[in-house]
């Protein structure tokens, strides 16, 4: 009976996942196509301006129709919708991009993705770890001077958007060293390869963007961990653990940390799932060639297919992360059972 209910639960959960995924993607697709604007017209005009040649309106119309076909913008909304998802599902093809025509969108994404993952997975995990550790310590030492100083600082920093921190960091960098901070992901003199020089160069370029992401992220995790810890410190079982005369490290690790960590794990999963979002603004500020940069560039150029591709990927990873955490959570917390209580 237990097994059957588990299977039912899993199937319902996965069904729900597919439903959410489908509706989110559809909503994104429709919102996007309904938005006023004529990207093809703009594109053709742009081509004409670049080539400095005149095309008569009839010719232009023909050209526009040709491009519409290429970009999958032919026919009514439903036709476009069916065409698009046929391609996506059966040919893993996200269409052709405008911004670097005729490169397909998936190629652009695969090019940008490693940079974003490299930058964000490391900063997310690092700030999560550090934030939780400091958070639990200041929570444990609540009411002391250290706690109030650290917590107030964290409160201030967690409220500053990371791109502002990035800007401030660059200003400080220029002020201190008198030179420009590195922009981009690697020096333009180098080619991507598996060499130590290249790797060091990449690391050097990542210092400032990571620092700004870590600083803000860490403070956010710290604040939530501290308040979790403080509320658990008021629980009867913690008082009882102290009355039992357990050693401090055991209380801290098994009674406080273990309980406070559970909600934070969900947070981490969602944060990791949202990585492909790219840290739009940090990547923009630092000219970092990741997903965020790709998305912003595509937006500026009204690149339907690329934007659509980026948004779909984000939706997919976020929802998948939430699905995975829902499935694994009952393994972490014995109070939660599959199928709900």
């Amino acid at each position: 009976m237990k097994r059957r209910s588990l299977v039912t639960w899993l199937l319902t959960r996965i069904g729900w996942y597919i439903l959410t995924l489908w509706s989110a993607v559809t909503v994104a697709f429709i919102t996007f196509r309904l938005v006023p604007g004529n990207p093809i017209g703009a594109y053709v005009t742009q081509l004409m301006q670049q080539g400095k040649y005149e095309i008569n309106p009839v010719e232009a119309e023909k050209l526009i129709n040709e491009y519409k076909k290429t970009f999958g913008l032919e026919g009514d909304l439903l036709t476009q919708y069916i065409c698009y998802f046929k391609e996506v599902i059966f040919h893993h093809n996200l269409g052709v991009s405008f911004i670097s025509f005729p490169t397909p969108v998936q190629v652009l994404i695969i090019r940008a993705l490693p940079w974003t993952i490299a930058l964000l997975s490391e900063t997310t995990v690092f700030s999560w770890l550090l934030g939780n550790i400091i958070g639990i310590i200041v929570g444990w030492k609540r009411g002391t001077k250290v706690d109030s100083v650290v917590t107030s600082l964290a409160l201030v920093f967690s409220q500053i958007p990371y791109y502002i921190v990035a800007v401030v960091l660059i200003l400080l960098f220029v002020y201190i060293t008198g030179t420009l901070p590195p922009r981009g992901a690697y020096s333009s003199t180098l080619y991507p390869e598996f060499s130590l020089t290249f790797f060091l160069d990449v690391a050097y370029h990542a210092v400032l963007p990571s620092l700004s992401l870590i600083l803000v992220g860490l403070c956010g995790w710290l604040i939530s961990m501290r308040s979790l810890a403080v509320s658990i410190l008021g629980e009867d079982y913690l008082l009882f653990a102290q009355a039992k005369g357990l050693k401090e490290h055991r209380i801290l690790s098994r009674y406080l940390f273990r309980n406070a960590l559970l909600p934070q794990i969900t947070g981490l999963a969602i944060a990791l799932g949202s990585i492909v979002n790219g840290a739009y603004l940090v990547e923009y500020v630092f000219n970092y060639p990741g997903m965020g940069y790709l998305f912003v560039t595509a937006l500026g150029r009204l690149d339907y297919n690329t934007i659509q591709g980026c948004v779909m990927l984000t939706i997919f990873t976020v929802l998948t992360a939430i699905l995975l955490i829902d499935i694994t959570y009952p393994l972490l917390d014995p109070r939660i059972r599959y199928g709900g209580e």
Binding site: T20, S23, A24, V27, A28, T31, F32, V35, P36, G37, R142, L155, V156, Q159, I160, P161, Y163, I164, V167, V168, I170, L171, V174, Y175, L180, S227, V230, S231, L233, G234, S274, N277, Y280, L281, Y284, V285, F295, V296, L299, G300, L302, I307, C310, V311, T314, I315, V318, L319, I322
Partner: protein
């Protein structure tokens, strides 16, 4: 009888005073600081026309070429001028006014939607709750920022109301969730049962019994929505995707980045927008944390009665 009436009046007045004092004592330092910053910010935003009248006279602060470009901070120009010869202080105050305005309008609008939906969902329950909760969860789960960016990019030349509306549509689910949770827990309170057997109507129960106790959470919801709206709007502007005709703090940051202020180390171009933005985020957040510490019983238990 009369005696008692007089006695009661005196007692009531005394009680109001003592309750007032207690409330002020109860206000924690975070709430006090937050309110103070908020007061300063809103004063600056409201007085912007007056201040800029004094600095510039009748000219709009965004008009280019009024002064020499890239002046260093001086007596006349406390923060200097930018590349287009505009007074940076006047410009920043102008940006602050619009950022603040958009944040407040969008914040209140989104909280209003959130409160209505939260109340229906929590109090009515049943099928209403199932449907509304599904929509709310859906809105929270899907990454809305890219969609917001798309909308903002394509709907150029938006007016402030339009922008606020779009921001509100994407930020209401959080306050709806908070309010729903509160209504759900409050409607199980014995005093609601007592109200029912005293023949109070649903309307009276919502407005007389539930609403007063949800006010702090509505406050927190508004604060969160304002922060969310300002954050989203600034983000759009910074990457140059905001509606082109409204100048906010985000626009100023975008210009500063475009002018190479960061690379040249021209701190005076950036300082005011950065400080103003930090103050907006910080003040609302401090108020929220303060309210939470006062009204959240779980946290109260630890800090003592």
């Amino acid at each position: 009888m009369n005696n008692l009436a007089r006695f009661n009046l005196a007692k009531q007045v005394k009680l109001y005073i003592t309750k007032g004092i207690q409330d002020v004592l109860r206000l924690n330092s975070k709430l006090k600081i937050g309110m103070l910053i908020l007061l300063v910010i809103s004063a600056l935003a409201i007085l912007e026309p007056v201040i800029n009248q004094a600095i510039l006279g009748p000219i709009s602060p965004i008009t280019p070429g009024i002064f020499k470009p890239l002046l260093k901070p001086s007596r006349e120009h406390l923060l200097g001028t930018d590349l287009l010869g505009r007074d940076l202080l006047a410009l920043s105050l102008h940006g602050l006014k619009y950022s603040f305005l958009i944040g407040i309008v969008a914040g209140f609008l989104s909280s209003f939607i959130g409160i209505v939906i939260g109340f229906i969902s929590g109090y009515k329950g049943g099928i209403y709750d199932s449907i509304l909760r599904t929509i709310t969860d859906f809105m929270i789960i899907i990454p809305t920022w890219p969609i917001l960016a798309i909308l903002a990019t394509y709907i150029k030349f938006m007016r402030i109301e339009g922008l606020a509306m779009i921001l509100a549509i994407f930020t209401w689910p959080l306050s709806a969730r908070i309010i729903r949770g509160q209504v759900l827990s409050l409607k199980e309170r014995p005093y609601v049962d007592l109200a029912k057997v005293t023949n109070l109507s649903d309307f009276e129960i919502i407005f007389l019994e539930l609403m007063p106790n949800i006010l702090p959470y509505i406050g927190v919801g508004i604060g969160n929505s304002v922060i969310g709206a300002v954050l989203a709007e600034t983000g759009l502007e910074v990457i140059g995707l905001g509606p082109g005709n409204i100048v906010t703090l985000g626009t100023l940051l975008n210009w500063a980045l475009g002018f190479g202020a960061v690379i040249m180390g021209n701190w005076n171009i950036l300082i005011a927008p950065v400080l103003f933005l930090i103050s907006i985020f910080l003040s609302f957040n401090l108020v929220n944390v303060g309210l939470d510490e006062i009204y959240n019983p779980r946290l109260k238990k630890v800090t003592g009665e």
